[in-house]
């Protein structure tokens, strides 16, 4: 059994240090982390405690300020848990002065001419807007005279701490050697998947690497932890996350078909688990990356798309969207579900060096899905929309004659998918220069082929009403 003096507390991060009575120092017997990709992690410390009989306080200094205190659970079968505290009132000059109201401090004044020091005792009366002191029979505002004045406090009041501290008050019937488990949820420890796709357009193939990036901004270092990562949308009620995930889903239209293949990955309920094979240390302010997918020769292609909502003309031609399409099915060469993350796409330049060409976000994607990632706007494939005329058919029906001039400044022919979206309830194509197709109850699409260095104009007449 060892006793630590107060100021050593900060040295052990996430360590177990006893103050009031005592407890064991030393390391975690086991440290486990379950990390979710929504800025949330479950931390479990397993510790050997040497507990004498009686009531005592066990402190866990150095837990992150981002711990969710109401999720703390302390499990030690032979100890009676009396209460659990999370003190996050940090020791700062202002807090210390506030706590000193009514108490006494030493004032050391320095004579600016001679440098001579005079020490006096002062009572702190108030800290509202300025520190008001009673010195003998005088009342003064601290340093209002702008003269150098040191303030010396004699002790740190209880509950003001250098670091947020978790403590439990326990009672032991008799001295006991106990294996205790402390678990809690914390923010500031999260992971994301990042993908690197090297797209080889002439071969129609892509090499796909998946990286898990762990980020630790919790303020603590987790030493020799067994970590596992959970992919899936943990429901966080009423949180910003919930809104965020809805927004993400609405926004991402790059998943074109949902897969139905299962893979060999470990599952937990509806979630996928990615264990990290060996114990790892995750330092504070560290990004740690572990590879989890490495596939090459995955079938991939490219397409141009442009979607128009409404009917209008534009002076400025609009660039076609460039999409890289691939499937994460086994047949296409991947056969892995993809946890949500950012996909960065590269292609090789004329000298064979990979260059970055854009990025897109994917949601949790089950194996066998079709993806069409938007990587950017085509510099050389543009569409100029022109509303040729509008005709009123009846009170509820209008007819629009549109033309879309597709220009291709590339040295090879391209095909552009033009979509007219979000039409009114009743809609029909009356005439068209290229045969299109209905893609939805409220949209039509046309494939427009354009020769190398050429242009093609798609014309159609569309009627809509309600």
């Amino acid at each position: 059994m060892r006793r630590y003096t107060g100021w050593l507390v900060g040295l052990s991060s996430a360590g177990l240090v006893s103050v009031n009575v005592l407890a064991a120092g030393g390391e975690d017997k086991q440290l486990s982390l379950t990390i979710y990709n929504k800025d949330l992690a479950l931390v479990e410390h397993v510790r050997e405690l040497d507990v004498p009989a009686g009531k005592q306080r066990i402190e866990f200094a150095g837990v992150s300020a981002q711990i969710v205190p109401e999720t703390v659970s302390f499990l030690a079968p032979s100890l009676e848990l009396i209460e659990q505290n999370f003190d996050y009132d940090l020791l700062t000059p202002a807090k210390l002065m506030e706590k000193a109201v009514g108490g006494r401090v030493q004032i050391v004044r320095i004579n600016p001419a001679t440098g001579a020091e005079t020490t006096e005792l002062a009572q702190v009366l108030s800290t509202e807007g300025g520190t008001i002191l009673r010195i003998g029979s005088r009342i003064e505002v601290l340093r209002e005279d702008d003269l150098p004045t040191r303030v010396i406090f004699d002790k740190v009041p209880e509950n003001l701490r250098a670091q947020p501290t978790l403590s439990v008050l326990v009672n032991a019937a008799k001295p006991v050697k106990e294996t205790a488990r402390l678990t809690y949820l914390t923010r500031g420890l999260t992971w994301a998947s990042d993908y690197v796709v090297v797209f080889d357009e002439p071969k129609g193939q892509a090499a796909i690497q998946g990286w898990i990036t762990l980020r630790n901004t919790s303020g603590s270092t987790f030493t020799n932890a067994r970590a596992q990562l959970v992919a899936g949308d943990v429901n966080l009620v009423g949180s910003e996350e919930q809104w965020w995930s809805m927004w993400q889903q609405r926004r991402s239209t790059n998943q074109r078909a949902v897969g139905t293949e299962s893979t060999g990955r470990q599952r937990l309920g509806d979630y996928y688990i990615y264990p990290i094979n060996q114990a790892t240390t995750i330092a504070n302010n560290q990004s740690k990356q572990v590879s989890f997918i490495d596939a090459s020769g995955v079938k991939a292609g490219k397409g141009y798309e442009a979607t128009f909502w409404g009917f209008s003309s534009s002076d400025e031609p609009q660039s076609a969207e460039v999409r890289v399409r691939f499937s994460n099915s086994k047949a296409a060469g991947l056969g892995e579900q993809l946890p949500s993350g950012v996909v960065r796409v590269y292609t090789r330049d004329s000298r064979g060096q990979p260059q970055f060409i854009g990025e897109d976000h994917i949601g949790h994607t089950s194996a066998g899905s079709e993806l069409a990632l938007k990587i950017g706007d085509a510099f050389d494939v543009t569409i100029q929309p022109t509303l040729e005329n509008t005709t009123r058919i009846n009170k509820r029906t209008y007819q629009y004659m549109m033309s879309y001039t597709v220009r291709n400044a590339r040295a090879e022919p391209v095909s552009v998918t033009i979509r007219q979206d979000t039409l009114w309830r009743v809609n029909s194509v009356e005439a068209e220069s290229i045969k299109g197709r209905r893609t939805d109850t409220d949209s039509f699409a046309w494939e427009v082929p354009v020769a190398a260095n050429g242009e093609t104009t798609l014309r159609f007449t569309l009627r809509q009403g309600w």
């Binding site: 940090l90 250098a162 990979p354």
Partner: protein, 539 residues
């Protein structure tokens, strides 16, 4: 595991790495940088490393400090990669104090008046954004709250603090020996943009165009003898908060290249302000208890925010360390295609110094066929507010084709137009050009017209007498110039009302969906355009 003494990092290396053999690659052999318009670059470093046979931690020093760890790719590595780490707990006043909680330091005070220096040992009791508390034999004191100059001396740098951000990878056992690998990553703080200078001839039939590329390195890293490329094109990018690359927001949230350019410029200015703030705050401010005169801001917080970006002067060049102009002759050759973008190569290796701006000519075309006219677009508001003054715009129209004299991709940028007069060149105006591929028509509205008045009047009387819905529009153009001009009037069409134009007194054409008329107005005379706008009946 054995420790390889020669390469084991010094006291600044994190504790956990000490158990494994560590090899440090101090700097790259050569660097290639591909700069994008969106304030970042892809840096590709070639490095030679010598690996032992056992598992090893390989650390890369000399990386650009703004690197995005998730973007790093290591190629040509024949060893199993177990994990890779990016440590950015950087050595800075705030982190040094924080990591030194519980350690002993020495406070040095200089007393006013006598100038006497005293030194006292103290233990750091707490250090956070709101101040620093020290324990001495006298009791507890706050740092820098007494009004006496105080300094702290530390005995050592705590473990885990890096003098520079460091990328490291853990490799499995494998073949020992020397090899060459490539490390590539995205780094923030590089930028490029294009600007154009157009020289118009007085008659308006042709102009000369020079395109400038401006390269910026606003990081604190210097890249020596780098191969430099720039990419022209609009990449889809996500906001950094979503794990993406863009520091200005997702590309899809911007309507046009113009909006993007404004946002980029604003970001650069913000970085510049941060830098200036930081220079002012060189004397790190600490939080104190309240007292009479001042209440310092929690500077530590500010410092955290700024640390990432370092120095970012704006393009305006007011505070640049160095601007290098490579000359007036086109030095960069026409671009090569990169996916659906264009890649321009700087033809020689160049130094990209910290806080440097470089310019080079990438386009030089003379005698481009063009037309000049004064354009005006009639909208619904024009017809409702007929007493508002109308100013047509001097517009330069041309096609980006080889036949017209260009025929090269034109990356978005500001076009500044000059006209040669007897007295010399005069600046006539500027316009933002969007990305323009070969083959598209381009119109640039350069300036409001002078000595050219346009009045509009609307007559609804005839309509009132009949049952039909129409208005008669008249536009009078008065040319006070001593030369004839061409005026182009466009009638905008609303989307959801079926409108027809009838009875025009000039030949009616169509342009970009609008109705259009071209009027030749002789010197010092008035010309009038009349037409009827009719709401189409139900068929």
């Amino acid at each position: 595991m054995r420790r390889l003494l020669a390469t084991v990092a010094l006291c600044t290396a994190p504790l956990y790495a000490a158990a494994q053999v560590e090899v440090v690659s101090a700097q790259p052999d050569s660097v290639s940088v591909t700069i994008y318009r969106d304030l970042f670059a892809l840096v590709t470093e070639t490095r030679t490393i010598d690996l032992p046979a056992e598992p090893v931690t390989l650390a890369f020093d000399g990386v650009v400090e703004t690197l995005l760890p998730a973007s790093a790719v290591i190629s040509a590595l024949d060893r199993g990669l177990e994990e890779r780490n990016y440590d950015y707990d950087q050595l800075a006043p705030a982190s040094l104090l924080r990591k030194s909680i519980g350690r002993t330091v020495v406070i040095t005070r200089t007393l006013p008046g006598s100038g006497k220096v005293t030194q006292t040992r103290a233990v750091i009791e707490s250090a956070n954004d709101d101040g620093v508390m020290l324990r001495t034999t006298d009791g507890l004191e706050a740092l820098s709250c007494s009004g006496t100059p105080e300094g702290l001396t530390f005995e050592e740098i705590p473990d885990g603090l890096q003098p520079k951000p460091r990328l490291s990878i853990r490799l499995a056992a494998g073949q020992p020996g020397k090899r060459t690998i490539k490390l590539s990553y995205i780094a923030q703080g590089f930028a490029w943009r294009s600007d154009y200078v157009a020289h118009l001839d007085a008659g308006g039939r042709s102009f000369d165009l020079t395109g400038w590329v401006t390269l910026r390195n606003v990081t604190q890293s210097t890249l020596k003898q780098a191969e430099v490329q720039v990419v022209a094109g609009r990449l889809n990018l996500l906001y950094e908060d979503e794990g993406g690359t863009s520091t200005i927001g997702a590309t899809s949230d911007f309507e046009s290249e113009t909006e993007l350019q404004e946002a980029r410029q604003m970001r650069l200015e913000e970085w510049e302000e941060d830098r200036e703030d930081r220079e002012l705050d060189l004397e790190f401010l600490y939080g104190c208890y309240p007292f009479g005169k001042r209440s310092p801001a929690p500077a530590a917080l500010q410092y955290q925010r700024q640390r990432m970006y370092g120095r970012f002067p704006d393009y305006g060049g007011g505070d640049l360390e160095e601007v290098v102009v490579t000359g007036m002759r086109a030095s960069i050759r026409p671009p090569e295609a990169l996916a659906d973008y264009h890649l321009y190569r700087v033809p020689w290796p160049t130094d990209l110094n910290a806080r440097q701006t470089k310019q080079a000519v990438f386009l030089q075309k003379t005698g481009i066929r063009s037309e000049q006219f004064y354009g005006f677009r009639v909208s619904e508001e024009t017809l409702e507010e007929t007493d508002e003054p109308i100013q047509p715009e001097l517009t330069l129209g041309f096609t980006n084709s080889r036949a017209a004299g260009i025929g090269e991709p034109l990356p978005a940028g500001m076009v500044r137009a000059f006209m040669s007069e007897a007295e010399g060149d005069i600046f006539i105006g500027e316009a933002l050009l969007d990305d323009k591929p070969v083959g598209v028509p381009i119109e640039l509205a350069l300036a409001g017209a002078m000595d050219l008045a346009l009045e509009v009047s609307v007559d609804e009387d005839a309509a009132k007498e009949s049952d039909e819905e129409f208005v008669d529009v008249e536009l009078r153009v008065s040319n006070a110039k001593g030369r004839p001009v061409t005026v182009e009037v466009r009638q905008q069409l609303p989307e959801d009302i079926a409108i027809r134009v009838e009875r025009a007194n000039h030949r009616t054409g169509r342009k970009f969906g609008d109705y259009v008329w071209r009027l030749k107005v002789p010197a010092n005379s008035v010309e009038s355009l009349t037409y009827r706008l009719r709401e189409a009946e139900v068929e």
